[in-house]
Every structure is written in C-alpha cells, then in structure tokens.
C-alpha cells in the first residue's frame, strides 16, 4: 500500500526538477530535456489520479501527452537545429540577439 500522495509528491519533485533544469541549464537541448522531465512528472500525476478515481481516462491522457511530447520533440529539435545553423552555438546565454 503506497499512499497516493507519495506518487503525487514524486511527480511534483520531477516537475520541480524540470523547472530547475530550465532555469539552470545552458544547453538548449538539455533545457528541452528538462521540459520532458516536467511532462513526465505530469504524466505520473495523471496515472496516479486515474488510480485514485478509478478512471481509465487518466491513462488516456498520458497517451496523448506522449504524442504531444513526441510532436514537440520533433519540432523542437528541428528548431534547435535551425538555431544552431544560424548561431553555431547551443548556449542559451548566447542566444540573446533579441532583447530590451
């Protein structure tokens, strides 16, 4: 018997790690990975809540989230490639032509 809140806290931790990653990582790809981490955290919540409510729809959501994540990954990585082509760097701190 695992209290549900454990799952939820775990998901929260993952989400928080993702946020932290976004804040501290410099490499665009790693930042993107942090986002994936956040999504994974959310997915865990969905599944946990699905278990709590006894509704399978929660699991369906996870499926959709994955699809979206996949699509995002494809697009996101393409964008990253495009950025790399024009800037020849993946450091976000240097991707700052647009400011003020």
């Amino acid at each position: 018997m695992v209290p549900l809140s454990y799952y939820l806290v775990l998901s929260g931790i993952l989400f928080a790690c993702g946020v932290t990653g976004f804040l501290i990582k410099r490499n665009i790809i790693t930042i993107f990975m942090s986002i994936e981490l956040m999504l994974n955290g959310v997915n865990l919540s969905f599944v946990a809540f699905a278990a709590q409510w006894g509704k399978l729809s929660g699991q369906i959501f996870v499926f959709f989230v994955m699809v979206v994540a996949a699509a995002e990954a494809a697009v996101g990585l393409a964008i990253i490639i495009a950025v790399y082509r024009t800037r020849e760097t993946l450091n976000v701190d240097q991707v700052n032509l647009l400011k003020l």
Binding site: L8, S11, F15, G18, V19, F22, I28, I31, F32, I35, M38, L39, G41, V42, S45, F46, A48, F49, Q52, W53, K55, S57, G58, I60, F61, F64, V65, V68, A71, E72, V75, G76, I79, I80, A82, V83, R85, T86, R87, V95, N96, L97, L98, K99
Partner: protein, 485 residues
C-alpha cells in the same frame, strides 16, 4: 451525455467540427499541391487555396451555427460562444493569408508549409474555442502553439527569426507543462476533465484546495499564452523576431482562442478565487506593457508591448461579473484582432525584404510618401489608443464599464490611466509618420491587391466596431448567456 451509449458519432456531430474539417482538408490540399508546382507559381496558387480554405471555414462556421449542441461524447460544444470565436479565428486567418501574399514573395518564403501551417494552426484555435474537455483543449492548444512556433522561425536565414522561434518554443513548452500539470491536478481534484463536470463539482460546495492549485497552474499556462504579466516576457522578443504577418496572426487568433479557453475555465467551470488574481495580473500587464512600450523604437517590438497591455485591458473584463465581463472580453478580442492584424499588415508591407524597415525612423514621412497607407495605420493606431469611433474605444469602454459594474473602481482607474499613458507611444508612430521628414530613403512599394483587401477589411471592421458595436456586443452577450447556462 448522449455519446456514452452510442458507438459512432452521428452526422450532425461532424457538422459541429465542420470548420476544423474544412481547414484540415484545405491544409492537406496545400501540402499535396506544394510539391506539384514550381516555386514561383506555388506562392500565389497556394495562397489562393489557403484563402479559399479560410473562407470556406467561415462559411462552415456560419452553417455550423445552425446546429448548436454537444458532439463527440462531450468533447466539443457548438454554441454561439464557440461560433463567435470560430468566426474570429477564421476571419483573422483569411486576412492574414491575404496579407502574406506579398510578404512571401518579398521574403522568399516557402509557401506550401507556410499556408498549411496557418490553416492547421487555425484548426487548433477553432477547436480550442469549441472544446469543452481539458485534454482536447490541451491538444488544440498544442496544435496552435506548435504551428506558431514553426511559423515564428520561418525566416530561417535570419538569426533573429530562429531565435524568436526557439525562445517561443522553449518557453511555450515550459508554460504548456504548467498548464498540463494544472489539468492533472484538476483531474485529481474533480475526477474529470470535462468542463461541465468540473463546473458541477466546483459549484457544489467548497472546492478542494487541489482545484485551486490546478486553476493556478492552468492560469499560468494560459496567462503565458496571452502574454499576461508576469508571464509576458517572451512577447517582445518573439514578436520582434517572427515574420510580421505571423505576428499579426499569433497576436490575435491564438490569443483570442486562449481567451476563449480562459473564459470557459474561469466562468463555465466556475473557477474559484479568480478576482484578485486577475486584478493583479491585469493591472500588472497594463502597466508593464505600456511602460515598456514607451521607449521602444522598433515598431514590431512596440506593438508587442502594446499587445501585453491589451491583454491586461482584456483581463480586466475577467475580473468583472460574468454577465458583463464575458461579452466585454469577447468584444475586446474581436476589435483587438481587427486592429492588430491591420497594424501588422501595414508593418509587414513596409518591412520590405529581410524585414529591414521596422524601426520608427523608417516610418518617418510615411504620411507623405504613402498617404493612404499611413491613414490606414493611423486608424489602427487610434483604435489601439482607444479613440472614439474605433473598435478599440468601445472595447475598452465595455471592459471598463463591466469592471465598474463589479465595483472595481481601482482597477478601472489604473486602466484608464494606462490607456492615457499608452496613447503616447502610439501617438509617437503617428507623429513620426506625419510630422517628421524621412532622413533616409525608405522605399515604399505600392500596396498590392491582397494586402489592400486585407487592410480594407481590418479598417472597416475596426470602424464598424467603433460606430455600430451594438450587434456584435449583442451577439457576445447572447454567447455569454450560452456559456453561463
């Protein structure tokens, strides 16, 4: 819930997603035509197809409005509210496509994907306004977001364009994750993702704290999308880097759709505790947006700040009582769409190849070089200021009067002061156009037909909303009734 028992959707339910279907079909047609044509011819043909698609979607929307009701097992709900936003989104799409003709040629952008993405993006936006289920909303949101991420980076050879794209993409995904987490918590709190069910649960008794957190996180995600402070920081950068017609598109249509979602979540789902949250966010958005714009010299960036401010004005309506606030907000989205699309249409025309001419200085003497264009831009700017006889005026008017009916005097004071301060930077553009001589030779090509039509539509819409706002507002009021029922 008629869908629970049945196995396949009925025909009428397809009508309820007809505009989306139409848009998708035309998007696919474009994709298929693209490889069949050579580069030069495809530009116009594909644009024409896209335009037809958008117009067909408008027709479909009108047709659809005859068949209100729920479809696909409670996933979509066609009511006057959704029809309103469908119409808005498709109309904006059509205008943006018209605007893009010339831009594509000047900037040498590949047309197939461009128009396709616009149409597909419009699918997402349309769906957002009619979806009544959080997961569908999420997917629709992603469709519109991802397509705009891509469109923002369409000027691939320009470093700023891809930077804009990557910033938009990363921050957008970041915010989407928040939204999604909110959905999850909401699901956890209520056991459902259907807005109707959530609304029932939340309306009955004290909602659980989890629901509050869920709302908070969803608000963060959606607030980001509409560029409400403090989630607005991406806006200026992205707008500056993205292609001008696309900025016109993404500052209006997706925003309108997200506002529709926000309205549904806050009002239809009876989200608790919104008042002071919105109060602060609205005040902050107005103030930061206007103040930030004061010293901008890049017109695109200026309009980006202005869109932050306008998000703030719009949010004022959300703090008001639903019966007044919703119609006010809807009216605001409509008039904002009209004027902002128009303004960006002018900007994209003047930008010229490589978007070289986008600073204030480049607008100097425009009133002399191209009086009609300058006059049109002036109309949009005046509307953005909120001068009577333009849509922008009535939009602010309704919003503020709705807020006053809810006794939000402080917020209204902040709002009107902001709109006065905001006048300054719009006025600067007008001043530069009419009262300053050009220091350098900035070429202004004649306005092509497509752009002309687009400008005419936007201008007429802006003026129409400013002179005879009654019908639109009446419709919006009816929609609000539908939403709150």
């Amino acid at each position: 819930m008629n869908g629970a028992a049945q196995v396949t959707p009925q025909a009428v339910e397809y009508i309820r997603i007809l505009p989306e279907i139409v848009l998708t079909i035309f998007g696919i047609i474009i994709m298929m035509l693209d490889p069949l044509m050579d580069e030069r011819r495809s530009q116009r043909t594909l644009g024409a197809v896209g335009l037809v698609g958008a117009l067909a979607a408008i027709v479909a929307t009108l047709y659809q409005s005859q068949y209100p009701g729920v479809g696909f097992w409670g996933m979509v709900n066609v009511d006057s509210f959704s029809v309103f936003f469908h119409f808005l989104v498709t109309a904006v799409t059509a205008v943006v496509i018209l605007t893009s003709y010339e831009y594509m040629e000047v900037q040498q952008i590949r047309a197939g994907e461009y128009y396709g993405l616009i149409l597909f993006g419009a699918v997402g936006m349309c769906l957002m306004s009619s979806a009544v289920e959080l997961v569908l909303i999420f997917i629709a949101l992603e469709i519109s977001s991802i397509s705009t991420y891509i469109l923002a980076g369409f000027r691939r050879r320009a470093a700023i364009s891809s930077e804009s794209s990557v910033k938009y993409f990363l921050l957008g995904s970041f915010a989407t994750a928040f939204f999604l987490y909110g959905v999850a918590l909401m699901f956890g709190a209520t056991g459902s993702t259907s807005i109707a069910v959530i609304g029932q649960v939340l309306a009955s008794g004290q909602p659980p704290v989890l629901a509050y957190v869920g709302i908070a996180l969803m608000f963060v995600g959606l607030g980001f999308k509409v560029a409400a402070a403090p989630f607005h920081v991406w806006t200026p950068d992205v707008y500056e880097g993205a292609p001008a017609p696309i900025v016109g598109f993404m500052s209006t249509a997706p925003k309108a759709a997200v506002f529709a979602v926000l309205l549904r979540i806050l009002f239809e789902a009876h989200a608790p505790g919104r008042l002071w949250l919105i109060w602060v966010v609205a005040a902050l958005s107005m103030t930061l947006g206007n103040i930030g714009a004061l010293v901008q010299d890049n017109v695109k960036r200026l309009l980006a700040y202005s869109s932050i401010a306008h998000a703030g004005y719009l949010l004022v309506a959300f703090a008001a009582l639903p019966a007044n606030g919703i119609p006010a907000a809807m009216f605001y989205t409509a008039s904002y769409a009209a004027m902002n699309v128009g303004a960006f249409a002018v900007v994209s025309h003047l930008a010229s190849a490589g978007e070289r001419y986008v600073t204030m200085e480049d607008y100097a003497g425009l009133g002399r070089r191209s009086p009609l264009l300058a006059a049109t831009l002036t109309i949009f700017l005046l509307s953005l200021i909120g001068i009577p006889a333009t849509g922008g005026f009535f939009a602010k008017f309704y919003v503020f009067s709705a807020a006053l009916q809810a006794n939000l005097v402080g917020l209204v004071i902040i709002g009107v002061l902001n709109s006065a301060v905001g006048a300054y930077y719009y006025l600067r553009v007008i001043v530069v156009m009419y009262m300053r001589e050009a220091r350098q030779e900035v070429p202004v090509s004649p306005v092509p037909l497509g752009l002309g039509v687009a400008l005419a539509i936007s201008a007429v819409a802006t003026i129409y909303l400013g002179v005879l706002p009654g019908r639109v507002l009446e419709y919006a009021t009816r929609s609000a009734g539908d939403l709150l029922r």
